[in-house]
Amino acid sequence: MTILTPNGFSLDTAGRRIVVDPVTRIEGHMRCEVNVDANNVIRNAVSTGTMWRGLEVILKGRDPRDAWAFVERICGVCTGCHALTSVRAVEDALQIKIPNNAFLIREIMAKVLQWHDHVVHFYHLHALDWVNPVNALKADPKATSALQQAISDHSKSSPGYFRDVQNRLKKFVESGQLGIFKNGYWDNPAYLLPPEADLLAVTHYLEALDFQREIVKVHTIFGGKNPHPNYMVGGVPCAINMEGDMSAGAPLNMERLNFVKLKLQEAFEFSKNVYVPDVIAIASYYKGWLYGGGLSATNVMDYGDYEAIQGQKSTDRLPGGVILNGNWNEIHPIDPRDPEQVQEFVTHSWYTYGAGKNDVGLHPWDGVTEPNYQLGPAAKGTKTNIEAVDEAAKYSWIKAPRWKGNACEVGPLARYTLAYAHGVDYVKGQVDEALGRFNTLAGTNLTPKQALPTTIGRTLARALEAHYCAEMMLTDFNNLIANIKAGDSTTANVEKWDPSTWPKEAKGVGTVAAPRGGLGHWIKIKDGRIENYQCVVPTTWNGGPRDPKGNIGAFEASLLNTPMERPDEPVEILRTLHSFDPCLACSTHVLAPGGEELARVTVR
């Protein structure tokens, strides 16, 4: 039976059902089911978030100044972006303006996070969908060296260097203990790289593994540790003491800032010479594999971020908005406070809004959440042993957020589509140059509108965004130095630190361009305590289930019409799902700010 969804996708459940659970190389827990037709082409896709923790319930009644640490623990990968969103929400509610130094330090931390997250995603969570490490054993290191020298100025490019890596890999494989590479799909014809490119990528897998440990040290300087650096409401905790008494024991001094600068420069070089060129080169071998676009070809959204001037949203260096129906000529402004814009639905989620309200959408400030775990009549298996979910009923621990009723894709590709459409010069230059290089290597002539809304485009946009962040954080660093030089060493505004200075009631919103897309936290404060707290996170937008009208979300849309080489080996499913960098740990917390007690929860 074929169904046409209101957002233009055709679903057919007639063919064989394939279940991937767990989907690995993601943060959190996820399940995916698809139906393939007689030609092994995906004709229906079902995305299920398989975990719920209930952090927003836990936050109720606590000190708003503490919230950042709770929500930071939503996820260990995008660590810090929830904390940043949280302090922004609290500061918005209490109308606290943070000092410029604090703004710049937070900006550097946010971009370091973005850069780190993107690099780790590509090399350690995503590359194995494109790269075959076993095939790298067949490479001629000289050919790898030539390839490296052709695509960038990276200093580690000699044949001997690649031979060493190959020998290490050989030992590893010969030991018979493949470790994390075990049971990979290494003889699947979906892998298209020649051995020399596989060796290049495996080498950079290892280089990235080393360097990702270095770049996070910027968080260690400013926030004391990584993962989970410390934040605070009103500024940053790392006071500045450049030359006074006891500067050497101060959080920030000359030695600390020198260290930060060095790491930022190293990151810039790595994304310029390794990450971006690798993505373009690998993509060129997959020039015929332009699947996976899904919703990105039509609907994308982001709140916008990276103000060039503190407090001036119009100076966002990645400006936000919503694009609908693929019309890049019209960008709808987005307002997270408007009750009619961002809403969440639970028709197909394991929550209930109460009797007769299964199909309504609620704005985060007014939401209701009660877990309501039940399988639909067509599900297979039992309540504690699911063989197949019934997507006509409730089937996920994720809610379905919509913008004015529209399902949208979020993430680096959404931001780059928006920035391109806004005409941001830097982004336009990057995209055009990258596509030029891709087209040259691949012998194709793809336009941005053809190349971007694909799995490859999603992966490319992430790489370009990482490098843009590297560029911007160096600017932020220079601005920080200039500000200190001009005599301003302030890092915190503590005028409203004491809750007795707060209004009796307040509400606020914080948004951040998180690695996986637009992130928003909504808070209501009453009598100095959290009355309600709600997070609407990127993977909720992308991985959420269907809405009452039957619109499908970004994950499900992206898998449709993709042919699989071998249905039992989900390389293509993983490739496209991973291109979103799913974070189910984040997406499954979304709980009610409504104030109701949870009906089905046992309190210990």
């Binding site: 905790p237 008494d245 890092t491």
Partner: protein
């Protein structure tokens, strides 16, 4: 690290997915029966028949019990596995439960922290592989090698505590000089961990050095022991001396006081008064 161990199943890093991934677990369990180390991150939620966390269509707690059955030992990596952590904070809506409350018949090594220090994690596992034994544990099940002292005991700002020199508010003169963060709610005096000695990320820094008090993330139930910014009360009057380890002193109370200052701090202030001119 990977030259010493074979990391066969790690759902964040492994190449395979779905049943090929689950097949690896089965293989490890058969091939290395009774001889593999199970390191658990996170914890199982027990409400809703365990279906708040689903792996392969079944409750995570089932997978945990199944794999634990033939393990040689279990490492509870992090505060989630060790104590329950954030999802177990009041009211613990999913009944998130630490590993030792669902597995009773195996040695369990707790390596708490949110997260633990990476060097501590590798230190514990490489110790086990190198010396072929479980490290000496304290009565809470933590390796003494990393968890026998409080952050406060070897904090580089400790002299300022003793001298009664405190940060009174963020970004004040004391904050810029690296004074003690006790009055800003630092939980260093009641937190057993190696942050002030090993430090973080190759020893680059640790929370106190970066200007924020310790939030006590390696302690049981730290989420429910008052705000990060609420001052610790030393209600036992035992002081925060370095002479006792975790077993002798037990958990110092992390209650919250309004204006009261701990006894030891008061003594420090008295000493300061005697040496007029030393401090501002």
């Amino acid at each position: 690290m990977l030259s010493m161990i074979s990391l066969d199943y790690d759902d964040t890093l492994m190449a395979s997915a779905g049943h090929q991934a689950e097949a690896i677990l089965d293989e490890v369990m058969t091939k290395y029966k009774g001889n593999y180390i199970l390191a658990v991150e996170g914890n199982p939620p027990l409400n809703e028949d365990g279906m708040y966390c689903i792996i392969g269509g079944k409750p995570f707690v089932d997978q945990l019990k199944k794999v634990a059955k033939d393990a040689k030992a279990i490492i509870s990596w992090g505060s989630c596995a060790s104590y329950g952590c954030v999802q177990a904070a009041r009211p613990n809506p999913t009944r998130a439960t630490p590993v030792h409350e669902v597995i009773f018949d195996k040695p369990i090594i707790k390596v708490p922290g949110c997260p633990p220090i990476a060097e501590v994690m590798t230190g514990v596992i490489t110790y086990m592989l190198t010396f072929d034994r479980i490290p000496e544990l304290d009565r809470q099940g933590r390796p003494k090698m990393f968890y026998s002292q409080r952050i406060h005991d070897k904090c580089y700002r400790r002299p300022h505590f003793d001298a009664g020199q405190y940060v009174e508010k963020f970004d004040d003169e004391g904050a810029r000089k690296g004074y003690c963060l006790y009055k800003m709610g630092c939980k260093g005096p009641t937190t057993y961990n190696a942050c002030s000695t090993v430090r973080w990320n190759d020893g680059v820094s640790f929370p106190i050095q970066a200007g924020h008090g310790c939030i006590g993330c390696s302690e049981d139930g730290f989420w429910d022991k008052g705000s990060w910014y609420a001052r610790l009360a030393d209600i036992n009057g035992k002081g925060f001396g370095v002479e006792a380890n975790a077993d002798q002193i037990g958990l110092a109370a992390a209650g919250v006081v309004g204006g009261a200052v701990a006894l030891h701090a008061a003594v420090s202030a008295l000493k300061r008064a005697q040496h007029k001119g030393d401090a501002k």
